[in-house]
Amino acid sequence: MFKLILKMAWKNSFLRLSRTLLVIIMIAVSMSMMLGIQGLYDGMAENMIDKSKRSDSGDISIFAKDYRIERDIKNIIKDASSIKKKIEILDGVEAVVLRLSADGLISTARKSSFSIIRGIELKDEEKFGRFSEFLKGGELNLSKRSAIIGIELAKTLKLRLGSKVIFSTQDSSGEINSIALRVRGIVQTTNISLDKNTIYVDKQILHKFLSVDETYATQISILSKNKELLSKLKQEYPSLDIKSFFELQPMMKMMQDMMIIFNSITFFIVMLVVFIGILGVMYVSILDRVREFGIMLGIGMEYKYIRTQIILESVIVSFIGYLLGAILGVAVLLYLNQYGLNLSSFADALESWGMETVLYAAIKVSYFSSTFFAIITAAILSVWIPLRKIKKLNPVEVIKAEK
């Protein structure tokens, strides 16, 4: 019997071909657009989080106890090199870097600005966060007294490649020292605080400049997908300040939550449109065939079979719409993932928020599974009202009406 009901549902689904095609196209277009928007939202958030991790804190960062409250060179991790070696061999750890930073004043002949000097090892940073990908101009050269500067800081100080700057700060003994540096490269990490304030120099040069032992560091950053690692490190090093990425970057957590809310709102609106679309078409389709259903009831067909047939009709149309939407959606997402959405006309605004001017979409299987369940649910719910009408149908009235 089910085979026959399925056959009736299939044939009835295409009885009014133009109407059915309209619903299928509506579902497919709405779904593909929604997938594109979801992908862009997620891609934007993931990109910002990824760059922020790669350029700075990683998944976990370790500081000396009071360093984040008082960014003084005295608050330093003294056995950083040995800690790094111990962490590197832990399960799930992908990369570890040591950094030495100090706040100070960067000056040119005409301008000066607050700045943070960050001592890095290019080889480690490359392994940790593909540092070379941040390079916007010049070269990755920290030899001798070369420096790489954040793009916003370069703009503030009107620095170009080859420009000379003086960086002044207090060394470990409290003396004010200055170092002359030549800008060899400009980087854009889209991490606003880094791009606005940071000048990168060779870590060893900075150690000497600040008179700090080479085994010391102000920050140890770790890339790891191991969720247990944070608590493990906290147990292991109770005297250090160990924070996860989102603890260090609450704005990123907020942004990620906002994206989930935006995605949910978009999802809800699109699914509401799909629901209303299916409801409208199914309602008209069922009203067109009230007599047919009345006669079926009259000759002894149980209501449950009619309900199954109507639900199947709705599900068939919606499923075809979903399949088409999934194909279109994959195409849209692949394009946006590969080529991105170029918003360079809004470059200033986007960059001030730490966003890329070209947004690349993320692709997740969950987009398709959640949409599948939502569309099938919408298909089933949309026939609820028309079904109530059929349930109340009096076959005698229908037979009378035909005369």
Binding site: K7, N12, L297, G298, G300, Y305, V396, I399, E402, K403
Partner: protein, 221 residues
């Protein structure tokens, strides 16, 4: 056997426009009858047919179908009764447009849960009897009115119901097709032993049935 005892039916009960459509109907129809409810339009013959077929309820009285009281049955029980024991032929054929003639004829048998082989052989047997065996794969919309009505009769009879209720089955047919349909239904009545009750004011049916039950103004004459 069908027995009706003091059956009354009202439309718009307790309203100013109340209509007493069946008035104290007492009637016995024996197994294998080939009978007609006859009378002018609005006399209550369709209402009586619907009441016997458990399509409609009555306000008072009792209706027995093979000694089973049907007026007290629930909606689901009435649906089952219609499915298992009664065949219907309507004026407007009412075939399922998306199903082939073969599927339409076997539709009720499928609802009853008959096996596919049983359905196939029965459908072919009835289609042969009603001379529509060459049209089994066609869709109803490709058939003439006479052929569609024969498919409707085949659907009603295929499941071997105890009784077939035919409401104005010839209303949309010309006299030639009407005569053919009546002849075929009589043949079914004789061969299959199924009781057939018509509700019609068609003189042609009146001439061919074995018993005419006349009605006027909701009452039997």
């Amino acid at each position: 056997m069908i027995q009706l005892k003091n059956v009354n039916k009202y439309f718009y009960k307790d309203e100013p426009r109340e209509l007493h459509t069946l008035k104290d109907i007492n009637l016995t129809i024996k197994d294998g009858e080939f009978s007609l409810f006859s009378g002018p339009s609005g006399c209550g013959k369709t209402t009586l047919l619907n009441a016997i077929g458990a399509l409609d309820t009555v306000d008072s009285g009792e209706i027995y179908l093979n000694n089973k009281e049907i007026t007290t049955l629930s909606e689901n029980e009435r649906t089952q009764l219609r499915l298992q024991e009664i065949g219907f032929v309507f004026q407007a054929y009412n075939l399922i447009p998306v199903l082939s003639v073969e599927e339409n004829i076997g539709f009720i048998m499928r609802l009853q849960g008959s096996s596919e082989s049983e359905i196939k052989s029965r459908v072919f047997e009835i289609a042969n009897l009603l001379e529509i065996d060459t049209k089994l794969q066609s869709l109803p919309s490709t058939l003439s009115g006479g052929q569609q009505q024969r498919v409707a009769v085949a659907r009603a009879v295929a499941s071997k119901p105890k009784i077939i209720l035919a409401d104005e089955p010839t209303a949309n047919l010309d006299s030639k097709n009407s005569q053919k349909l009546i002849d075929m239904m009589r043949e079914l009545n004789e061969k299959e032993g199924v009781s057939i009750l018509f509700a019609s004011h068609d003189e042609l049916i009146a001439k061919n049935v074995k018993r005419v039950i006349k009605m006027e103004d909701g009452a039997l004459l």
